[in-house]
């Protein structure tokens, strides 16, 4: 686990909404093929930070970013980079599941391919592989032509994860992926995140510290838009080096 390379390298990253600066010069090297959790009190900027990593932040009105984020050494904020193409390499799963309405389960899985250059001949295989990868195949294999919105919340979230991995991104960003689903579904998605961590670089925002401890290899603690501590998850939760981190994980605030 220790011989990891850096997938995303963030340096001196600032982000603002208009005059309101949300992130203050974040420096962080996100390791490849591991799960990195972002924790911190509400409003600490962890979702904004995540959205800076695939250039979703700039879609918000008056949002600005300064600093660099490098994917395998290439700056994703460089003028030559098309943010639309970039997002095929850095996928994202959101808080609330959002399967495309009117699209079937199978079409939802294939959505990214269908709209970005066409579906290869082995579409059925791709659907099966992605749904198996998202631990959803057994539940939906007999109703692939049913609308994606007919599934339960937890199933919808796994469908969205299947949809995200179909385009084979290098990195998968997850913004509190379990906050809108029930505990049983949460357990399944957590297991899934853990498994996906073997093949993908995953950055997951969570407000649930136990969840971060369960699923992540490394954890970053953010507060007031600043990175307080970033370390191995086991170390950060058992023996944090900063007083603020200890106060937060022991429940003194937040």
């Amino acid at each position: 686990m220790s011989t990891t390379s850096t997938k995303l390298s963030v340096s001196d990253l600032d982000a603002s909404y208009g005059d309101h600066q949300v992130l203050h010069s974040i420096d962080m090297d996100i390791p490849a093929k591991e799960v990195t959790a972002l924790i911190g009190p509400s409003g600490c900027g962890k979702s904004t930070y995540l959205r800076c990593l695939n250039r979703m932040h700039e879609l918000t009105t008056a949002a600005t970013v300064n600093g660099t984020v490098q994917l395998d050494g290439a700056d994703i904020y460089h003028d030559d980079i098309d943010p639309v193409l970039l997002r095929r390499h850095i996928g994202m799963v959101f808080q609330k599941p959002a399967p495309f309405p009117t699209w079937s389960i199978a079409d939802n899985v294939l959505a990214g391919l269908k709209l970005t250059g066409g579906v290869p001949d082995n579409a059925d295989e791709i659907v099966e592989k992605a749904l198996k990868g998202a631990a959803l195949w057994e539940e939906v294999k007999d109703k692939l032509d049913k609308p994606g919105t007919s599934l339960s919340g937890g199933q919808q979230q796994r469908l969205c994860i299947a949809r995200a991995i179909t385009v084979e991104p290098d990195v998968l960003l997850m913004d509190e992926p379990c906050s809108a689903i029930d505990p049983v579904a949460t357990a399944r998605v957590e297991n899934l995140i853990h498994e996906l961590g073997e093949n993908y670089t995953i950055v997951v925002v969570t407000h649930n510290m136990q969840q971060a401890a369960r699923i992540s290899d490394k954890t970053a603690f953010l507060m007031m838009g600043e990175l307080v501590e970033f370390d191995e998850t086991s170390k950060l939760f058992s023996n944090p080096s900063k007083q603020e981190t200890e106060d937060y994980i022991t429940g003194k605030f937040g």
Binding site: M56, V84, L86, R87, G112, L115, C160, R163
Partner: protein
Amino acid sequence: MDGASPDSRSQSNRRALSDIRGERASGLRERVIEGGLFACAAASVLTTLGIVVVLFMEAIPFFFDVSLLEFFGSTQWTPLYADANFGVWPLVGGTLLVTVIAISVALPFGLLAAIYLSEYASERARKIFKPMLEILAGVPTIVYGYFALVFVTPLLQQVIPGMGGFNALSPGIVMGIMIIPMISSLSEDALHAVPDRLRESSYALGINRIQTIWYVTLPAARSGIVAATTLAVSRAIGETMIVAIAAGQMANLTMDPRESVQTMTAYIVQLSTGDVPTGSLEYQTLFAVGALLFLMTFAMNVIGQWFARKVRNQ
């Protein structure tokens, strides 16, 4: 209130009881007010019901003289001629022709305007554009009719050979412009109601903006767009002034938009401003056509409202 003696507590209870009696007295006044409000609401419902009842009461005797078979079977509408024919198709055809032209203008423009307002326009542009579009719906229809007759028709005559002075195309186009805001406004509401997480999920898959709108946002808003279109169709079917002025007074079963047509509404105008004797068969055609018109717009409204309710429930 821990230290309150039993005595003072019962006193406060008495006061509470007398308050409740006061409530009862004012409860009567409440009921009077409620009754008054109900009467006002009932008046509008009863008026509508009354109109429908009269419409059908007068229309039914017409079908004693003219069979439904002739009404829906014949293709000639000449109730005022000596050789009277009562086939309603020329009027229905004229209505549908103008309506189709109007929707062909209003749907693309209205939908594209809605897409622009909901997906592209800045908050500032929205604030300027939206009320301006809605002004279109506020222009009196007589002005539109006049505009069609003296401005659009001569313009079309220069471009399209064989264009009549009265024709279906000119009022159709102008009516289409009039109902653009009906389509754009409701469609924009529907697009606006599509949750951002759908758009963002699409962007996150590397799908660009146009494709996101076309394949994700528009399908998600389809119920609202269908509702808007249906209500606009209903409005176009019932629209009177523009066609009465610019489409002509010739009941004519044709699909050629250059020709003069008479719509159902325009026929009703022609007849009710003329001098047919009350109770005559010609007079009763008014109600037969009116009842059919009512059924058509009513059906469209029911469908439209059904879709609109679906949007709200999403």
